[in-house]
Amino acid sequence: MGIVGCSNQKVAAAVFVCTEMIEIKGLVKKFGDFTAVDGLDLRIETGEFFGLLGPNGAGKTTTISMMSTVLLPTSGEILIDGQKLDRKASSQKRKLSVITQEYSMRQDMTIDEVMEYQGRLYYMPLKEIRKKSEELLEFAGLSEFRKRTVRHLSGGMKRKVMICRSLLIDPEILLLDEPTAGMDALSRRQMWNLLRQLNEKKMTIVLTTHYIEEAQALCDRVALINRGKLQKLDTPDALIEDLGAFAVDLTSEEGLVSRYFHDRDEAIKYLSEAGPSASFRATTLEDVFVECAGRKLQ
């Protein structure tokens, strides 16, 4: 496999050995008359940190659900390491771990039991489950709560349990659906650091998020999807460059309007002509996102 499609950051490290870990071909998912995912094609390389961005209802969670076989596609297919992923594909599923948007755990189990259940589902020996659980729970600061049932944990703690649970099995691919939703700023930064560390160990990470700065900070490449269709796909820097690296915001009767420029001098000239209500700044991935989706997002 060539290096076409690999992110710039990864090229040096990959040294022409990029391989496609995940390939999505013509993926379609319909719920009755509603098409949630509409002919999505993606290639995600081994060890890549890949972001799926889109407004509410864009089809991000549906895509992740199909990648974890919870939902089956209406048409199209997903390949993991070149092999079709379906509910029977044990060897492909063994590589996958998912952190869903919802707290998908037995609420009446203790943290220890949740971890043991996960380990057993992946055929891990009991000794290994206990040893790794202890390490992960210690790392997440959950050791003292291990006998507490999930129902009695705070939202942030539940999220941490889900992270520990997904890492217990040493996955090659980590699918994250809004992993930092509901987390405070400090916990979110800790999560970012953890994800970076995991990605440095060549774990392939697919992330959906509403926090655009999260995608910009973490992802090698991002796919912008809207109404189930792929709108743009590139590195965050390339997407910003494509829109124009410099932005001038104008406050008008219509609200905040931004104009984008490739050339700094051109932007400054526009700013000086626009009057005192205008302001200058660097373009962010959120600008790309808003332009692409056509509406302001959180």
Binding site: F31, S68, T69, V70, L71, L72, P73, T74, Q83, R87, K88, A89, S90, S91, K93, R94, L96, S97, V98, T100, E102, Y103, S104, M105, R106, Q107, D108, M109, E113, E116, Y117, Q118, R120, L121, Y122, Y123, R165
Partner: protein, 257 residues
């Protein structure tokens, strides 16, 4: 790759079933008192009201002799059905805990099998409680290994039906409806409190072919020292095969589980 998968599955053959049984054990251990009391209350009421309160006879024998095998079979049905239908619907619709299983490499047929066996064991436990409670009463009824096997088979059938229904449930309100529409009528009509022979023709044949009718008849025959016959086993096996197949097809093929 498929060969590699087969080798891994062979190496861990049955581990998925053990995992589900472990999960069921965790649940049983935690809710032991609730499960035990719930399994006792209704059958005990029926035994007290119909068997002891309303003193009557059936076929020249005390009515209690007729009632006990029926109540044992009914308790098995209730125990198995309720152990699966509520739990699985909650896991699928509310907790989304089924997602954890779906994404794991555990073969889904083993998950189904584990649920069926686990549910059946819960039914067996409920039936055993009734047997223990009625043990001090002198009835001369016979309960042997074959009775236990029939109770287990009956539990498997109703666990499987519960599993299929819980995969079909669209909201949290559905499981109680399933109980009202399916389990409650069966509890009263299927050879538990009175013989299906007394029903009008047509209706009698329809009720007789239901799994609980057959389980009651077989357990009652054994209790009276008569052979259980083969027909009941065939009927139960047929239900198990049909609903088991539907459950497996659902979990592998249902697009929006």
């Amino acid at each position: 790759m498929r060969r590699q998968e087969a080798a891994v599955d062979k190496e861990n053959f049955g581990m998925g079933i053990v995992t589900v049984l472990w999960e069921k054990w965790v649940e049983f251990r935690r809710d032991f008192y609730k499960i035990t009391v719930a399994a006792m209350i209704s059958p005990l009421m029926y035994l007290i009201i119909f068997g002891m309160g309303i003193q009557t006879t059936s076929h020249g024998e005390p009515y209690l002799h007729f009632l006990v095998p029926g109540v044992v079979a009914m308790a098995t049905m209730h125990g198995s059905f309720s152990a699966i239908v509520q739990n699985m619907s909650t896991q699928r619709l509310y907790e989304k805990a089924l997602d954890q299983v779906m994404v794991s490499p555990t073969p889904l047929w083993q998950f189904i099998m584990g649920q069926i066996i686990g549910g059946s064991l819960r039914g067996l436990y409920a039936g055993a409680i009734i047997l223990l409670l009625t043990a001090p009463i002198r009835t001369d009824l016979v309960f042997n290994g074959l009775s236990v096997f029939i109770m287990f088979l009956n539990g498997m059938v109703f666990s499987t039906i519960a599993l299929v229904l819980s995969f079909m449930a669209k909201s949290y309100a559905d499981p109680p409806k399933f109980t009202s529409y399916i389990i409650t009528p069966m509890s009263f009509l299927c050879n538990t409190f009175f013989s299906t022979e007394q029903m009008p023709s047509g209706f009698r044949q329809a009720v007789s072919i239901l799994p609980l009718s057959q389980s009651c008849a077989m357990i009652r025959s054994i209790a009276n020292g008569e052979p259980a016959g083969i027909f009941g086993f065939i009927v139960l096996a047929a239900y198990l095969a049909v609903f088991g197949t539907i459950a497996v097809v659902f979990i592998y093929k249902k697009k929006n589980l």
